[in-house]
Subunit: 349 residues, 2 copies
């Protein structure tokens, strides 16, 4: 039948969070790969390195010393892309040469005092500490700034230049492109359907099951129907939650548990510390705190680059940059692979 054939033939899928389409060409996994092979991630990282500026007690580039921290540790990025006091560029009025002031702060957050652990290998309580700190930062920076972006670049392949487990938090005086688009899409859906888009989506996916990777009573991780990266996932609560700071104690514990499960599966896929960029999207803050944000649902995006093995990634290049994103296996195939992997980490088995 036409409908059955569809999954294995190329087709387009709609991303309702970005109002765009992705080209799904499942048959492309068959082509042989003669292109670039990445260096596998470093597997032997010392627990403490006297030269690593992120380790407890060490000196950083600006000469400041880290405390002897034993949980999470947050500090200001020594080379921030956003600073609180940048001057206004003054606008040219010409519609082709428009500029605006950009102000903000960039923070770095170490997850753990040890360099040789990652989130899936940390204790659940330690991951809860990370979540609590995320919530605290969103609350604190969100009093002023409209957008607080929590993100983690994991692995050298994703531009991470320090093996110590850490993420970054960049707060800005503007709503960046991606959240602005997501806000617009979620709002339009809410106005039309009377329920938050991602809340409805989570319900449907929990029923359909075919794209579910891991689930618990209050959380769900799926390879979204519109995933662009091969093993991309969307992690979200089942209850209507606007921001990470709104999560209850139980939900934070549930989140720590499901993050450990999801990230363990990621690592088990190619038996390697799985590279990715991830980040949280929740309702905007600052001036938006006074507005109705019912259309929003808190969620995290995981964008991992690997496609075929620990050393062969998906290149989002020519066609993807100039025309449209394209994927080489179906989201259902990716979800099934991840779902069937063991929940015990390959390093501790």
């Amino acid at each position: 039948g036409r409908k059955i054939g569809s999954k294995f033939h190329q087709h387009l899928r709609y991303n309702p969070l970005r109002d765009s389409w992705v080209l799904v060409s499942a048959h492309r996994m068959k082509r042989p790969w003669a292109g670039q092979v990445e260096r596998p991630p470093e597997e032997h990282i010392p627990r403490y390195d006297p030269n690593n500026p992120l380790c407890p007690g060490n000196k950083r580039a600006n000469g400041k010393g880290n405390p002897d921290y034993d949980s999470t540790f947050v500090f200001e990025n020594d080379f921030p892309a956003l600073q609180p006091d940048a001057p206004d560029p003054g606008s040219d009025q010409d519609p082709l040469f428009q500029s605006k002031a950009a102000r903000g702060v960039c923070k770095v957050m170490c997850f753990h005092p040890w360099s040789d652990v990652t989130l899936p290998l940390m204790k659940k309580e330690e991951v809860v500490n990370v979540i609590d700190k995320w919530a605290e930062l969103v609350e604190e920076l969100g009093t002023i700034y409209p957008w607080v972006q929590i993100f983690e670049n994991k692995g050298a392949m994703m531009g991470c230049s320090n093996p110590h487990p850490h993420c970054q938090v960049w707060a800005s005086n503007f709503l960046p492109n991606e959240p602005a688009l997501s806000d617009r899409c979620q709002r339009a859906y809410y106005e039309k359907h009377g329920e938050p888009m991602l809340l409805q989506y989570a319900k449907r996916e929990a029923e359909k099951k075919e794209r579910v990777v891991v689930e618990s009573s209050d959380w769900l991780a799926v390879v979204p129907y519109w995933a662009t990266w091969p093993y991309q996932t969307l992690l979200l609560p089942r209850r209507h939650v606007l921001r990470i700071s709104d999560l209850t104690t139980e939900e934070r514990e549930g989140l720590a548990a499901i993050m450990k499960r999801l990230l363990t599966k990621y690592d088990n896929l190619f038996e390697v510390s799985f590279p990715y960029s991830m980040g949280w999207h929740g309702a905007p803050t600052g001036p938006y705190l006074k507005e109705d944000n019912s259309h929003w649902q808190l969620h995290a995006h995981y964008y991992p680059p690997l496609l075929r093995s620990a050393t062969v990634k998906k290149f989002m290049v020519g066609y993807e940059m100039l025309a449209q994103e394209q994927r080489d296996l179906t989201p259902e195939q990716a979800a099934e692979k991840l779902r069937n992997l063991p929940e015990e980490h390959y390093k501790t088995r």
Copy 2:
């Protein structure tokens, strides 16, 4: 003054072709780089390799043999992402699970019979042959398909899996995201200002000079005001031209000459065969041929990944994927560097 300070402090710039913003944080070039170092591109490629499926006379994956071509050579991609006969996926009606049929063709085009040349090292007449073939393919595939995407992934860093000089041409029965967005933006500008956006832009840049890399009587290459990649350029004709197939003989010769100059500067920047993804955007075709496309102006985008050296690229990762694109030097700094480089190729000096 505030205005003078702006260039060296972070600020946002507006991209009128994509209706989005880029964060410019020039001071970030100062930070030390301890992250991933790429393998430099292979510099010793044999002119003819009996095992390379793109060389003249050789067999390809599907068993077909290449002719003994001595100019350009076009064939159907052996592992196409788009095929002409994919079935209709049949739609689910649910706004969260929308799919559409995707049909098309994928072609590969070799630029030259030799594997050890690239466009800047080819003779001008040979580059004209490439341009003529591009025009021919747009005309031919454009009779049916609304979009014909010509693109080149150059270098292993950009996902290119074969060192033989070549590009790809993917035609589709749909207008992909990027051209759809660009069409919308150009149309809105045209309706408001009565002149094509990019024609006005080219005029302003030719006057302003600070972002010009190379120019001739009928072509202009600039680092656009809103560039996201460090050395991104925009190449466009000075006359109002809708599609590559509309270029006159003189304009094709002028294009070959300016492409050679631009790409020579790229190679000279780090004295390496400069990786990039590039592609052409012109007015849509197929059913759009009957419509008024005066808002369109033909142009090529070059997206090169290198930032600091032949082996250190810009990572468009966490913040860029989740929030907004960010660059570490100003477009004016990048243009000045490229402009001041010699026009003689480092390999033939």
